[in-house]
Protein backbone atom coordinates (compact mmCIF):
# COMPACT_ATOMS: atom_id res chain seq x y z
CA UNK A 1 0.00 0.00 0.00
CA UNK A 2 1.01 3.61 -0.50
CA UNK A 3 1.33 6.12 2.34
CA UNK A 4 2.02 9.81 2.00
CA UNK A 5 4.55 11.37 4.38
CA UNK A 6 4.94 15.09 5.00
CA UNK A 7 8.28 16.13 6.49
CA UNK A 8 8.56 19.90 6.86
CA UNK A 9 8.06 21.26 3.36
CA UNK A 10 8.83 17.96 1.73
CA UNK A 11 6.25 15.42 0.63
CA UNK A 12 7.03 11.79 -0.10
CA UNK A 13 5.21 8.66 -1.01
CA UNK A 14 6.26 5.37 0.50
CA UNK A 15 5.34 1.86 -0.54
CA UNK A 16 4.88 -0.40 2.49
CA UNK A 17 3.18 -3.73 3.05
CA UNK A 18 -0.54 -3.66 3.91
CA UNK A 19 -1.19 -3.12 7.62
CA UNK A 20 2.16 -1.43 8.17
CA UNK A 21 2.60 0.71 11.25
CA UNK A 22 3.89 4.27 11.33
CA UNK A 23 7.12 2.86 12.78
CA UNK A 24 7.59 0.73 9.69
CA UNK A 25 7.07 3.74 7.46
CA UNK A 26 9.75 5.62 9.41
CA UNK A 27 12.07 2.67 9.06
CA UNK A 28 11.53 2.60 5.31
CA UNK A 29 12.53 6.26 5.22
CA UNK A 30 15.55 5.77 7.47
CA UNK A 31 14.12 8.07 10.14
CA UNK A 32 14.83 7.29 13.80
CA UNK A 33 11.61 7.14 15.81
CA UNK A 34 13.33 8.73 18.79
CA UNK A 35 13.79 11.91 16.78
CA UNK A 36 10.26 12.54 15.54
CA UNK A 37 6.62 12.92 16.52
CA UNK A 38 3.94 11.70 14.14
CA UNK A 39 0.61 13.22 13.30
CA UNK A 40 -2.23 11.50 11.49
CA UNK A 41 -5.10 13.79 10.51
CA UNK A 42 -3.84 16.47 12.89
CA UNK A 43 -3.75 14.10 15.83
CA UNK A 44 -0.51 12.95 17.41
CA UNK A 45 -0.33 9.15 17.34
CA UNK A 46 1.99 6.49 18.69
CA UNK A 47 4.33 4.92 16.16
CA UNK A 48 2.75 1.52 16.49
CA UNK A 49 -0.58 2.64 15.02
CA UNK A 50 -1.49 0.83 11.85
CA UNK A 51 -1.87 2.90 8.72
CA UNK A 52 -4.13 2.33 5.74
CA UNK A 53 -3.79 2.75 2.00
CA UNK A 54 -3.62 6.46 1.28
CA UNK A 55 -2.95 7.51 4.88
CA UNK A 56 -1.20 10.86 5.17
CA UNK A 57 1.16 11.26 8.08
CA UNK A 58 3.12 14.29 9.17
CA UNK A 59 6.57 13.83 10.66
CA UNK A 60 7.76 16.52 13.08
CA UNK A 61 11.43 16.57 14.01
CA UNK A 62 12.00 17.07 17.74
CA UNK A 63 15.73 17.61 17.65
CA UNK A 64 16.79 21.16 18.25
CA UNK A 65 20.16 22.64 17.60
CA UNK A 66 21.18 25.57 19.68
Amino acid sequence: MKVKVIIGKEEREVEVSPGATAAEVLKALGINREEVIIKLRDEIITEDETLAEGSVIEVIRVISGG
Binding site: I44, T46, T50, A52, I60, V62, S64, G65, G66
Partner: protein, 304 residues
Protein backbone atom coordinates in the same frame (compact mmCIF):
# COMPACT_ATOMS: atom_id res chain seq x y z
CA UNK B 1 -9.12 0.11 12.48
CA UNK B 2 -9.20 0.59 16.22
CA UNK B 3 -7.15 3.40 17.69
CA UNK B 4 -4.52 2.54 20.22
CA UNK B 5 -5.63 3.74 23.61
CA UNK B 6 -4.05 5.17 26.75
CA UNK B 7 -2.95 2.72 29.47
CA UNK B 8 -4.91 4.77 32.01
CA UNK B 9 -8.14 5.65 30.17
CA UNK B 10 -10.03 5.09 26.93
CA UNK B 11 -8.65 8.07 25.03
CA UNK B 12 -6.43 7.61 22.03
CA UNK B 13 -2.76 7.32 22.97
CA UNK B 14 -0.36 9.93 21.64
CA UNK B 15 2.76 8.54 23.27
CA UNK B 16 4.25 5.11 23.79
CA UNK B 17 6.88 5.19 26.48
CA UNK B 18 8.88 2.34 25.04
CA UNK B 19 11.15 1.81 28.02
CA UNK B 20 8.17 1.08 30.28
CA UNK B 21 5.53 -0.06 27.79
CA UNK B 22 3.05 2.55 29.00
CA UNK B 23 0.87 4.56 26.65
CA UNK B 24 -0.52 7.96 27.41
CA UNK B 25 -3.28 10.16 26.06
CA UNK B 26 -2.73 13.90 26.01
CA UNK B 27 -4.03 14.52 29.53
CA UNK B 28 -2.21 11.60 31.10
CA UNK B 29 1.00 12.38 29.28
CA UNK B 30 1.05 15.95 30.61
CA UNK B 31 0.26 14.63 34.09
CA UNK B 32 3.02 12.04 33.91
CA UNK B 33 5.56 14.51 32.54
CA UNK B 34 4.97 17.23 35.12
CA UNK B 35 4.95 14.74 37.96
CA UNK B 36 8.22 13.21 36.86
CA UNK B 37 9.92 16.60 36.52
CA UNK B 38 8.76 17.51 40.03
CA UNK B 39 10.10 14.21 41.35
CA UNK B 40 13.43 14.86 39.66
CA UNK B 41 13.66 18.29 41.25
CA UNK B 42 12.88 16.77 44.65
CA UNK B 43 15.31 13.90 44.26
CA UNK B 44 18.22 16.15 43.42
CA UNK B 45 17.04 18.83 45.86
CA UNK B 46 17.04 21.43 43.15
CA UNK B 47 14.74 23.92 44.86
CA UNK B 48 14.22 25.36 48.32
CA UNK B 49 11.13 27.22 49.39
CA UNK B 50 11.29 30.97 48.86
CA UNK B 51 14.23 30.94 46.47
CA UNK B 52 14.77 33.32 43.61
CA UNK B 53 15.28 31.28 40.46
CA UNK B 54 16.75 32.59 37.23
CA UNK B 55 15.44 30.64 34.24
CA UNK B 56 17.47 30.68 31.06
CA UNK B 57 15.03 30.97 28.16
CA UNK B 58 15.85 30.78 24.48
CA UNK B 59 12.39 30.42 22.98
CA UNK B 60 12.91 26.72 22.26
CA UNK B 61 10.87 23.84 23.62
CA UNK B 62 13.27 22.90 26.41
CA UNK B 63 13.59 26.26 28.10
CA UNK B 64 9.94 27.23 27.72
CA UNK B 65 8.80 23.86 29.10
CA UNK B 66 11.13 24.36 32.05
CA UNK B 67 9.68 27.80 32.66
CA UNK B 68 6.14 26.49 32.35
CA UNK B 69 6.63 23.81 34.99
CA UNK B 70 8.50 26.11 37.37
CA UNK B 71 5.76 28.70 37.07
CA UNK B 72 3.19 26.07 38.02
CA UNK B 73 5.20 25.40 41.19
CA UNK B 74 6.03 29.01 41.94
CA UNK B 75 3.10 29.83 44.13
CA UNK B 76 3.18 26.69 46.19
CA UNK B 77 6.93 26.92 46.82
CA UNK B 78 6.95 30.70 47.06
CA UNK B 79 9.48 30.92 44.21
CA UNK B 80 10.49 34.21 42.68
CA UNK B 81 11.09 33.49 38.99
CA UNK B 82 13.13 35.63 36.61
CA UNK B 83 13.51 34.64 33.00
CA UNK B 84 16.87 35.47 31.43
CA UNK B 85 17.33 35.61 27.70
CA UNK B 86 20.64 35.89 25.90
CA UNK B 87 20.66 37.55 22.50
CA UNK B 88 23.81 36.24 20.85
CA UNK B 89 23.25 38.24 17.71
CA UNK B 90 22.36 35.60 15.12
CA UNK B 91 20.60 37.12 12.13
CA UNK B 92 17.51 35.42 10.72
CA UNK B 93 17.13 33.21 13.76
CA UNK B 94 17.20 34.81 17.18
CA UNK B 95 14.65 37.55 16.53
CA UNK B 96 11.85 35.03 16.05
CA UNK B 97 12.73 32.94 19.09
CA UNK B 98 13.08 36.07 21.25
CA UNK B 99 9.57 37.06 20.26
CA UNK B 100 8.24 33.64 21.30
CA UNK B 101 10.04 33.82 24.62
CA UNK B 102 8.77 37.33 25.36
CA UNK B 103 5.22 36.43 24.56
CA UNK B 104 5.31 33.37 26.76
CA UNK B 105 6.89 35.19 29.72
CA UNK B 106 4.17 37.83 29.46
CA UNK B 107 1.54 35.15 29.38
CA UNK B 108 2.94 33.58 32.54
CA UNK B 109 3.60 36.90 34.23
CA UNK B 110 7.32 36.19 34.67
CA UNK B 111 9.68 39.18 34.36
CA UNK B 112 12.24 38.85 31.58
CA UNK B 113 15.74 40.28 31.38
CA UNK B 114 17.53 40.29 28.03
CA UNK B 115 21.30 40.57 27.71
CA UNK B 116 23.08 40.72 24.39
CA UNK B 117 26.61 39.78 23.33
CA UNK B 118 26.77 43.05 21.45
CA UNK B 119 26.04 45.18 24.52
CA UNK B 120 28.09 43.19 26.98
CA UNK B 121 31.05 42.14 24.86
CA UNK B 122 30.90 44.66 22.02
CA UNK B 123 30.60 41.90 19.41
CA UNK B 124 27.55 40.08 18.15
CA UNK B 125 28.06 36.39 17.39
CA UNK B 126 27.70 36.98 13.65
CA UNK B 127 30.60 39.45 13.83
CA UNK B 128 32.73 37.22 16.06
CA UNK B 129 32.45 34.43 13.51
CA UNK B 130 33.74 36.71 10.77
CA UNK B 131 36.66 37.87 12.91
CA UNK B 132 37.85 34.42 13.86
CA UNK B 133 38.57 30.95 12.55
CA UNK B 134 36.71 29.36 15.40
CA UNK B 135 33.26 27.98 14.91
CA UNK B 136 30.23 29.83 16.17
CA UNK B 137 29.30 27.33 18.86
CA UNK B 138 32.60 27.80 20.70
CA UNK B 139 31.97 31.51 21.22
CA UNK B 140 28.30 31.01 21.73
CA UNK B 141 28.62 28.39 24.45
CA UNK B 142 31.32 30.15 26.44
CA UNK B 143 29.84 33.64 26.21
CA UNK B 144 26.30 32.52 26.86
CA UNK B 145 27.39 30.64 29.95
CA UNK B 146 29.16 33.69 31.25
CA UNK B 147 26.29 36.08 30.55
CA UNK B 148 23.73 33.79 32.09
CA UNK B 149 25.79 33.60 35.22
CA UNK B 150 26.36 37.36 35.26
CA UNK B 151 22.66 38.01 34.85
CA UNK B 152 21.72 35.53 37.55
CA UNK B 153 24.15 37.17 39.95
CA UNK B 154 22.99 40.67 39.12
CA UNK B 155 19.40 39.64 39.70
CA UNK B 156 20.34 38.05 43.02
CA UNK B 157 19.23 34.55 41.98
CA UNK B 158 19.85 31.61 44.29
CA UNK B 159 19.80 29.18 41.36
CA UNK B 160 19.92 29.24 37.60
CA UNK B 161 17.63 26.78 35.82
CA UNK B 162 18.43 25.65 32.29
CA UNK B 163 16.46 23.54 29.85
CA UNK B 164 18.95 20.68 29.41
CA UNK B 165 17.10 17.44 28.78
CA UNK B 166 18.15 13.79 29.12
CA UNK B 167 19.47 13.68 25.55
CA UNK B 168 21.65 16.75 26.12
CA UNK B 169 23.07 15.21 29.29
CA UNK B 170 23.74 11.82 27.77
CA UNK B 171 25.33 13.34 24.67
CA UNK B 172 27.64 15.39 26.86
CA UNK B 173 28.58 12.35 28.95
CA UNK B 174 29.33 10.19 25.91
CA UNK B 175 31.21 12.97 24.10
CA UNK B 176 33.45 13.49 27.12
CA UNK B 177 34.05 9.74 27.46
CA UNK B 178 34.93 9.42 23.83
CA UNK B 179 37.30 12.35 23.92
CA UNK B 180 38.83 11.12 27.15
CA UNK B 181 38.10 14.52 28.65
CA UNK B 182 37.94 13.56 32.33
CA UNK B 183 38.08 17.15 33.47
CA UNK B 184 34.83 18.00 31.75
CA UNK B 185 33.31 14.66 32.51
CA UNK B 186 33.70 15.35 36.21
CA UNK B 187 32.58 18.95 36.03
CA UNK B 188 29.41 17.96 34.21
CA UNK B 189 28.17 16.16 37.29
CA UNK B 190 29.22 18.58 39.97
CA UNK B 191 27.48 21.87 40.12
CA UNK B 192 28.24 22.98 43.58
CA UNK B 193 28.28 26.64 42.68
CA UNK B 194 30.55 29.08 44.45
CA UNK B 195 30.68 32.70 45.37
CA UNK B 196 31.24 33.48 41.71
CA UNK B 197 29.09 30.81 40.18
CA UNK B 198 25.34 30.61 40.67
CA UNK B 199 24.42 26.91 41.13
CA UNK B 200 22.70 25.48 38.09
CA UNK B 201 19.72 23.19 38.07
CA UNK B 202 18.39 21.14 35.17
CA UNK B 203 14.78 20.19 35.90
CA UNK B 204 14.42 18.28 32.58
CA UNK B 205 17.62 16.26 32.91
CA UNK B 206 15.67 12.99 33.15
CA UNK B 207 13.24 13.73 30.34
CA UNK B 208 14.05 12.43 26.83
CA UNK B 209 14.07 15.12 24.17
CA UNK B 210 11.14 13.54 22.39
CA UNK B 211 9.03 13.75 25.55
CA UNK B 212 9.94 17.41 26.04
CA UNK B 213 8.91 18.20 22.46
CA UNK B 214 5.65 16.36 22.96
CA UNK B 215 5.01 18.16 26.23
CA UNK B 216 5.54 21.54 24.59
CA UNK B 217 3.28 20.64 21.66
CA UNK B 218 0.51 19.18 23.81
CA UNK B 219 0.59 22.00 26.36
CA UNK B 220 0.31 24.64 23.67
CA UNK B 221 3.65 26.18 24.61
CA UNK B 222 4.60 28.52 21.76
CA UNK B 223 8.04 27.00 21.31
CA UNK B 224 10.09 27.68 18.25
CA UNK B 225 11.32 24.61 16.38
CA UNK B 226 13.64 26.74 14.23
CA UNK B 227 17.20 25.54 13.94
CA UNK B 228 20.15 27.81 14.48
CA UNK B 229 21.95 28.43 11.17
CA UNK B 230 25.25 27.54 12.87
CA UNK B 231 23.95 24.25 14.28
CA UNK B 232 26.39 21.74 12.86
CA UNK B 233 28.67 20.60 15.62
CA UNK B 234 29.42 17.50 13.66
CA UNK B 235 30.75 15.47 16.57
CA UNK B 236 27.65 16.08 18.67
CA UNK B 237 25.48 15.24 15.67
CA UNK B 238 27.31 11.94 15.23
CA UNK B 239 27.07 11.07 18.91
CA UNK B 240 23.38 11.95 18.96
CA UNK B 241 22.67 9.73 15.98
CA UNK B 242 24.60 6.89 17.58
CA UNK B 243 22.76 7.18 20.90
CA UNK B 244 19.38 7.41 19.21
CA UNK B 245 20.16 4.32 17.15
CA UNK B 246 21.02 2.48 20.35
CA UNK B 247 17.88 3.77 22.04
CA UNK B 248 15.74 2.61 19.14
CA UNK B 249 16.85 -1.00 19.56
CA UNK B 250 17.42 -0.84 23.32
CA UNK B 251 14.73 1.39 24.82
CA UNK B 252 15.93 2.90 28.07
CA UNK B 253 19.62 2.99 27.25
CA UNK B 254 19.76 6.76 27.70
CA UNK B 255 18.79 6.24 31.32
CA UNK B 256 21.41 3.51 31.72
CA UNK B 257 24.07 5.86 30.42
CA UNK B 258 23.02 8.56 32.88
CA UNK B 259 22.78 6.13 35.81
CA UNK B 260 26.12 4.57 35.00
CA UNK B 261 27.69 7.99 34.95
CA UNK B 262 26.10 8.89 38.27
CA UNK B 263 27.49 5.69 39.79
CA UNK B 264 30.93 6.51 38.50
CA UNK B 265 30.90 10.07 39.71
CA UNK B 266 31.90 9.43 43.34
CA UNK B 267 35.02 7.64 42.06
CA UNK B 268 35.72 10.37 39.54
CA UNK B 269 35.63 13.04 42.19
CA UNK B 270 39.06 12.10 43.42
CA UNK B 271 40.27 13.19 40.01
CA UNK B 272 39.30 16.73 40.78
CA UNK B 273 42.84 17.34 41.86
CA UNK B 274 43.04 20.25 39.48
CA UNK B 275 41.28 22.76 41.67
CA UNK B 276 39.67 25.65 39.90
CA UNK B 277 41.50 28.94 40.20
CA UNK B 278 40.24 32.46 39.74
CA UNK B 279 40.66 34.02 36.32
CA UNK B 280 43.38 36.66 36.50
CA UNK B 281 41.29 39.03 34.40
CA UNK B 282 37.71 38.70 35.58
CA UNK B 283 37.89 36.55 38.72
CA UNK B 284 35.57 33.83 37.42
CA UNK B 285 36.43 30.23 38.32
CA UNK B 286 38.80 28.88 35.71
CA UNK B 287 40.95 25.83 35.12
CA UNK B 288 43.76 27.93 33.68
CA UNK B 289 45.24 31.26 34.58
CA UNK B 290 42.54 33.03 32.64
CA UNK B 291 39.06 31.84 31.86
CA UNK B 292 37.91 30.77 28.43
CA UNK B 293 35.61 33.76 28.03
CA UNK B 294 38.43 36.22 28.67
CA UNK B 295 40.75 34.39 26.27
CA UNK B 296 38.15 34.35 23.50
CA UNK B 297 37.31 38.01 24.09
CA UNK B 298 40.92 38.94 23.68
CA UNK B 299 41.05 37.15 20.35
CA UNK B 300 38.25 39.37 19.13
CA UNK B 301 39.87 42.59 20.26
CA UNK B 302 42.15 44.04 17.62
CA UNK B 303 45.58 44.35 19.24
CA UNK B 304 46.62 47.95 19.65
Amino acid sequence: MANITCSLCDERACYLRRYSGQRFCRRHFIEYFEKKVKQTMLRYRMLERGERIGVAVSGGKDSLSTLNILSKLAEKLDLDLHAILIDEGIANYRAATIKQAKRFCEELGVPLTTLSFKERFGTALDEAVKLSQRNACTFCGVFRRKLLNDAARELGCDKLATGHNLDDEVQAIVMNYLRGDLERLVRLGIDAGSEQLVPRIKPLMEMPEKEVALYALLSGIPASFEECPYAQDSFRTEVRAMINRLEESNPGIKFSILRGYQKLLPYLKSYQAKALRSCATCGAPSSGERCKACMLLEELTPSA
